[in-house]
């Protein structure tokens, strides 16, 4: 992409990415809870959940592997893959879904008019829609994160890689005239993962942990055959 940014970090742009070690994931869903708390995700009622309208920017999909009696339970955290060639982006008629220069797949809430084409076209089904005006019951309304927009009715939302934390670290680094260090940014899910299954970092920095993990021979992309070039690598030992 031809793009010059006077605030560009020394040593070229960032390219954020995540690695998910499925062999470490225990399916505890701490990431799900942390994400809810960090990102002002609305809390679905029982009825909404029954309608399939619960919102989890990161969700744990549960799969069974093998045949009885040798079945193994497998968990897979699925969230926005921040595709390099994202199917949701070209279909948005108003550019509400767009790509940032540092490789994030961003959603502009106040531009979104709710045609929901992006949600249809996302092969990972990780774009969530605000069917109604969100509300939080007492005392949950008092714990909303001031750094994150509360999305209104009729707009699409999804995982941002905790863009508020990324921007904060970027601005700090920029003031100090350096690049963001590896490990300086931890999205809420990464921060809360007790088994260290989630790793976040700059894919353009070859020494970063995430770049190292992406080179692993256990690594693969989710639905990689679609050519969406996800920024997330899943690591899993082949049997």
């Amino acid at each position: 992409m031809d793009y010059t940014d006077q605030n560009a970090p020394p040593g070229g742009p960032y390219r954020w990415g995540m690695a998910v070690d499925l062999d470490r994931c225990t399916g505890c869903e701490a990431c799900v809870v942390a994400c809810h708390a960090e990102n002002n995700i609305r809390i679905s009622s029982e009825e909404e959940a029954a309608q399939g309208r619960q919102v989890n920017w990161i969700r744990i999909e549960r799969y069974w592997e093998g045949d009885y009696p040798e079945v193994r339970l497998k968990f897979m955290p699925v969230f926005c893959q921040h595709c390099g060639s994202a199917p949701c982006e070209p279909v948005c008629p108003v550019y509400a879904s767009y790509h940032t220069p540092d490789g994030l797949n961003a959603q502009v809430y106040n531009r979104c008019i709710g045609v929901r084409y992006c949600g249809n076209n996302c092969p990972y089904s990780v774009r969530y829609f605000n069917w109604f005006e969100p509300h939080w019951e007492e005392p949950l309304n008092a714990q909303l994160n001031p750094d994150v927009t509360v999305r209104s009715v009729g707009v699409m939302e999804k995982c941002t890689f905790c863009v508020q934390r990324i921007r904060k670290a970027q601005q700090t680094a920029q003031r100090e005239g350096r690049r963001v260090q590896d490990g300086e940014i931890t999205p809420a899910c990464v921060q809360s993962c007790p088994s260290d299954a989630l790793v976040f970092g700059d894919r353009n920095d070859p020494k970063s942990r995430v770049a190292q993990m992406m080179k692993s021979d256990r690594g693969s992309k989710l639905l990689g055959s679609l050519g969406t070039e996800p920024a997330v690598t899943y690591l899993k030992k082949e049997k």
């Binding site: 309208r53 709710g114 089904s125």
Partner: protein, 453 residues
């Protein structure tokens, strides 16, 4: 002058004289429905208005509370609003196909059918366009779709098929209005000369000073011919673009190159079927038996056979290619359609769209049974509506990650708005039938005179 007088009064041309004598009769017959208002008519108008009001109330309720009043949920983000949009765009192919193609091919029997189908075209586009707005999550921000200059230099995304759609629909609406209006000018002039009361100045305005001179006729016929060609091109492109909405998406069952021609033929299928319904109703309730004959139903039936066969072929191709490709995610959709949860709807749809029309219309005596032709028209339209849903929902309900599999049934808000859309179409059609002659008077006269030669 003498020679002309002699020409017209000579006994040798008695046959032709007879034709000329029919002209006032035709004028009277075809203008008559414009000032006959029965109690039944007003009762029907009142009933339809009530249904439309219910739909409008449901829509307002949906805007007030949120689009969640639908039963849409992840990952089925499109439901019957989009199905209705595609369906109504399909119905709009009635006028352009029947009238445009038949005008271009100089089919004589088109004359009493053209106006009926052109009105359908315009009104169904209006209904279809409404569904774009009904479907939006934040309809109060619809103007983001319009490329207007703004300080922040944000432009709509013309890579999105929805922008192609918006452009195509707008073009189609404008061009079909022109296409409806041009052949109406001589009829408006006739109405201006013969009607009294408040409508007279309105017809005067609409007939833009038509006086029927040779030059005016030449210009009009040339304009109609040019617009006929253009409208047929627009017709093909519009529904191709609606097909692209699905074809360019990654959703299993949508991602297919056959979508564009399949959508065009499907649209023509439902459109022509709707003309059969309209033809029957116009004939039955406006006493137009002398103008809309059994011959017209017969010819329409033959066209419908050809369209049914094309539709069946494209449907078969679509399924065959998927089946031959055996991509797992596509096969999951196919399985759910053929013997899974959607099988009953799917096979009923095939019966409505293919089996019943083919069997019934192949019998010559069926084609000259007007009520039967209306029935086949209704059945095809039910089938085509279900087909739209069967394209949209099963594909969305079977995403590649099985964890998200789900199903969908519309809510009462969606169903109310859906019924209101049909009522709205019928309502504006009925109102227009009292303002616009349902049969093109000048074309009918032209046919009688030239046909008598």
């Amino acid at each position: 002058m003498e020679a002309r007088k002699e020409y017209f009064s000579s006994s040798r041309l008695d046959g032709e004289n007879e034709t000329w004598k029919q002209i006032p009769q035709i004028n009277n017959d075809l203008l008559a429905p414009l000032h006959q208002f029965s109690g039944k008519y007003w009762a029907l108008i009142a009933f339809l208005s009530l249904v439309v009001a219910a739909g409008a109330a449901a829509w307002i309720y949906q805007i007030e509370t949120g689009i969640g009043q639908t039963h849409l949920h992840l990952p089925i983000y499109w439901g019957i609003y989009i199905a209705s949009f595609v369906y109504w765009i399909g119905v709009s192919h009635s006028g352009t196909f029947i009238s445009g193609v038949l005008r271009l091919s100089h089919a004589e029997w088109r004359r009493p059918i053209t106006r009926i189908s052109e009105l359908m075209t315009l009104f169904s586009i209006v209904v279809a366009a409404l569904f774009i707005f009904i479907h939006l999550g934040r309809v109060w921000r619809f103007y983001y779709l319009i490329p207007y200059p703004n300080q922040r230099e944000i432009w709509p995304n013309f890579r999105s098929p929805l922008m192609w759609d918006a452009t195509a629909i707008f073009t189609y609406a404008v061009s079909s209005t022109i296409y409806l209006y041009l052949p109406l000018i001589p009829d408006f002039a006739l109405a201006r000369d013969r009607m009294s009361g408040w409508r007279r100045p309105l017809y005067g305005l609409l007939s833009v000073g038509w006086s029927g001179t040779q030059i005016q006729w030449r210009w009009l016929l040339m304009a109609v011919r040019i617009v006929s060609i253009l409208i047929v091109l627009v017709m093909v492109s519009v529904h191709s673009i609606v097909g692209f909405d699905f074809a360019v998406a990654l959703v299993p069952g949508w991602h297919s190159t056959v979508m564009a021609p399949y959508f065009v033929v499907g649209a023509v299928h439902s459109g022509v079927a709707m003309v059969a319904v309209g033809l029957y109703l116009a004939r039955r309730y406006n006493r137009l038996d002398r103008y809309i004959g059994l011959e017209h139903f017969d010819k329409l039936g033959k066209i419908m056979i050809a369209i049914t066969l094309s539709w069946g072929y494209l449907y078969f191709v679509d399924r065959l290619v998927t089946w031959y490709g055996k991509t797992p995610e596509e096969m999951e959709v196919i399985d759910s359609l053929f013997y899974g949860q959607y099988a009953s709807v799917q096979w009923f749809m095939v019966f409505c769209n293919f089996i019943y029309p083919i069997v019934a219309l192949s019998v010559p005596s069926y084609r000259t049974w007007p009520l039967g032709m209306m029935l086949v028209g209704l059945i095809i339209n039910i089938g085509m509506y279900l087909e739209r849903i069967m394209i949209i929902v099963p594909g969305l309900g079977h995403p590649r990650l099985h964890y998200a599999w789900t199903r969908y049934f519309p809510s009462w808000v969606e169903l109310t708005i859906l019924s209101a859309s049909f009522a709205f179409f019928a309502l504006i059609y009925l109102l227009a039938a009292k303002f616009v002659p349902l049969i093109s008077i000048w074309e009918e006269k032209e046919g009688r005179i030239h046909g008598a030669k």
